[in-house]
């Protein structure tokens, strides 16, 4: 047993607060927008130059000039504003975005994050990920607890030290996996703490699949 992608997204949505400005990465983080509680005002930023991102358009209403950072067609809302890439990343770098939820290949117990390149494979680039993790006030990673290798084996993704090239150092505040939730004291020396278990998952299950050191502080 473990959380589904939808359950992980729902758990991540609990990190939202009323009035927040949030940047969501592709994949599971995208699903978080489905779990914004009714009555809560959350504005989504798209780093290609938009605040107040709306849902996908109805068929036939796609506008080539209106896309998100994943290059998908989207829509505007009454709250929407548009701006340049420089202004968008000024907003990000300047710490004005409350929360970034994004995926990761690896996270280290000190908050280091790797999610942009695998040596030996074609590198597509970091896009805006390095800016987001360095600039956004609070960074939440949502990812599978382990990586499944081609030979069927599994590799830990929550590590003592990342071995993939880093996206950022000491940047992750919270990690949500299919097995549980960890906090990371990224600027201090408090390390990583397991605070929640997914449904039907035991602390032993997690211990077996986690290379990084962590304390247990279940709520």
């Amino acid at each position: 047993m473990a959380w589904t992608r939808e359950q992980m997204a729902a758990r991540a949505a609990k990190e939202l607060e009323d009035g927040f400005y949030v940047n969501l990465g592709i994949g599971i983080p995208t699903l978080v927008s489905n779990y914004i509680p009714d009555g809560m005002s959350v504005q989504l930023q798209s780093e290609n130059g938009m605040l107040g991102m709306g849902p996908f358009p109805y068929e036939g209403e796609e506008d080539p000039d209106l896309i998100n950072a994943g290059k998908q067609t989207i829509t505007a809302l009454p709250t929407t504003s548009y701006f340049s890439s420089a202004d968008s990343f000024g907003m990000i770098r300047g710490g004005h975005i409350n929360l970034s939820i994004l995926g990761a290949m690896q996270v280290a117990q000190n908050g280091d994050l790797a999610n942009w390149m695998i040596p030996g494979k074609m590198v597509k680039g970091m896009g805006g990920a390095m800016d987001l993790v360095a600039g956004v006030k609070r960074v939440v990673v949502v990812m599978e607890h382990v990586a499944k290798n081609k030979d069927g084996s599994e590799s830990a993704k929550l590590l003592k030290t990342c071995d993939l090239p880093l996206t950022g150092t000491q940047v992750v505040d919270l990690v949500i996996t299919d097995l549980g939730v960890f906090t990371i004291d990224k600027k201090g020396d408090g390390g990583m703490t397991l605070i929640e278990l997914a449904d039907g998952v035991s602390e032993e299950d997690i211990r077996a699949k986690t290379e990084g050191e962590y304390k247990v502080g279940l709520k």
């Binding site: 969501l24 080539p64 067609t73 505007a76 340049s84 970091m126 896009g127 800016d131 360095a134």
Partner: protein, 246 residues
Amino acid sequence: MRKVHKGATEALAGLLRDDMMIMCGGFGLCGIPDELIDAVQASGVKGLTIVSNNAGIDGVGLGKLLETRQVAKMISSYVGENKEFARQYLGGELEIEFNPQGTLAERIRAGGAGIPAFFTKTGFGTKVAEGKETREFDGENYVMERGLFADLAIVHAHTGDTEGNLRYRMTARNFNPMMATAAKVTVAQVEHLVQPGEIDPDTIHTPGIFVKRIIAVNTGEKRIEQRTTRKRGDATPAAAAGGGTH
């Protein structure tokens, strides 16, 4: 009217040479100066260094310049979704300098604003910082990045007047405004060419001082890279679409 040219080829006349650096606006295929790219391709100049967030897709946008091997180096943040790019890159025919997207945007803005270097948190402790000066300010670590200034910038805007004042539309703005400021010569293609005074001066994104030449283009159908939709009557339409980091 002195800035107005008849077409992309005429607008680029005398501006193109081998081994030059060209900034090219757009994000994905959104807001790219497609007709100006076509004219660069037709000119046959080669050995180009292209500053652009992305590299187009196969056969579209900058993908065209890649097909004809006119590009020696790209300065970009993300180049996925392009097989010809991958082939040339993996074959060592094409050099790529990856910049974090915000660092790229700021380097261009700095180049245009007379700022030779600035400090940013982005990329500290990563490959991006290798070989660069780092420094602590108020207990935080930063990387020094340099301004970028090109020989030529090509940009796309929704509306422009004959003085070169430009207005962009929605997320087609992206890198275009900064690039317009950060080159010796900026050439703009606009969907709607109007007379001075027709754009509300409070809403001009790029003042005419930055634009040396301007052409009207016939947009026709713009390409969409990822057509994503929802069905009418979806019980629970997504509160918002997903983002990304490309």
